[in-house]
């Protein structure tokens, strides 16, 4: 979607176990939900 919106040079960082040991862990595990860092640029 980032590229569809016109961004370039898209990068994705490593995953973070955002919900591990939290109340939402069960739902997060059910859909394999993790946190990620993203970087993208607007073209010059």
């Amino acid at each position: 979607m980032l590229e569809e919106a016109g961004f370039v040079d898209v990068r994705i960082g490593g995953k973070v176990d955002t919900f591990g040991d939290a109340e939402g862990e069960e739902k997060a595990r059910a859909y394999e939900v993790y946190g990620y860092s993203f970087l993208a640029n607007k073209p010059t």
Binding site: L2, E32, L39, K42
Partner: protein, 201 residues
């Protein structure tokens, strides 16, 4: 091209506001996500920067990863924090851009805006400002920002394409979008997408 949204936008915004109002006024309550310094450590923030911030600047943090992990902001940059909450990422950004930079946080929750503004005043961060608004229609002029940061907020917006279009509008050519958010490895069924409770919990 417009696409039918899976939920009522106003109803979802009301649910999100209520959830994050709670996080603003009762940061130490139990939520389905981690908050505060524990959340910041889990997300991999620079401990020296976090440790230097007072509790009120960190306690309502509810991010999902680190928007500074792939790029550190440059001194003097102009930054928009899309969905700034109680201001934690804006304060980290202020540390990175320094006194010559500017940081504008955008949020729709009154209690978060008050907390972030009060904390900025207490910390003497003159280069930080918080404005009320939605991510789909941010109160920022075209091409103003060198960088847009965000953390765990875009997933709460049903029309993500509209949000990315708006971020592209406020960025200067060559500007950077650096954000953190959740992504699912297994498909979420349509009935779950229509369940507003699942968007916030």
């Amino acid at each position: 091209m417009s696409q039918a949204l899976p939920v009522d936008v106003d109803a979802l915004r009301d649910e999100v506001r209520e959830k994050y109002r709670e996080v603003a006024v009762a940061p130490n309550a139990t939520y389905h996500f981690h908050t505060g310094r524990a959340a910041a450590a889990r997300c991999g923030y620079d401990a020296a920067i976090v440790d230097a911030l007072p509790d009120r600047a960190v306690e309502s943090f509810a991010g999902v990863a680190n928007p500074f992990a792939l790029r550190t902001l440059e001194p003097g940059e102009r930054v928009v924090d899309a969905g700034s909450g109680a201001g934690f990422d804006s304060f980290v950004a202020a540390h990175q851009v320094g006194n010559a930079g500017r940081v504008v946080g955008i949020d729709m929750t009154a209690e978060m805006l008050k907390k972030s503004r009060d904390t900025a005043d207490a910390l003497g961060f003159a280069q930080v400002e918080f404005r009320e608004g939605f991510l789909e229609t941010m109160p920022i002029e075209d091409g103003w920002a060198d960088a847009v940061i965000s953390n765990g907020v875009i997933n709460l917006c049903p029309d993500k394409r509209a949000v990315f279009d708006e971020i592209r509008r406020v960025l200067r050519p060559g500007g950077h979008l650096q954000f953190a958010d959740i992504a699912n490895g297994r498909p979420v069924p349509p009935e779950a997408l229509r369940d507003i409770d699942l968007w916030t919990g």
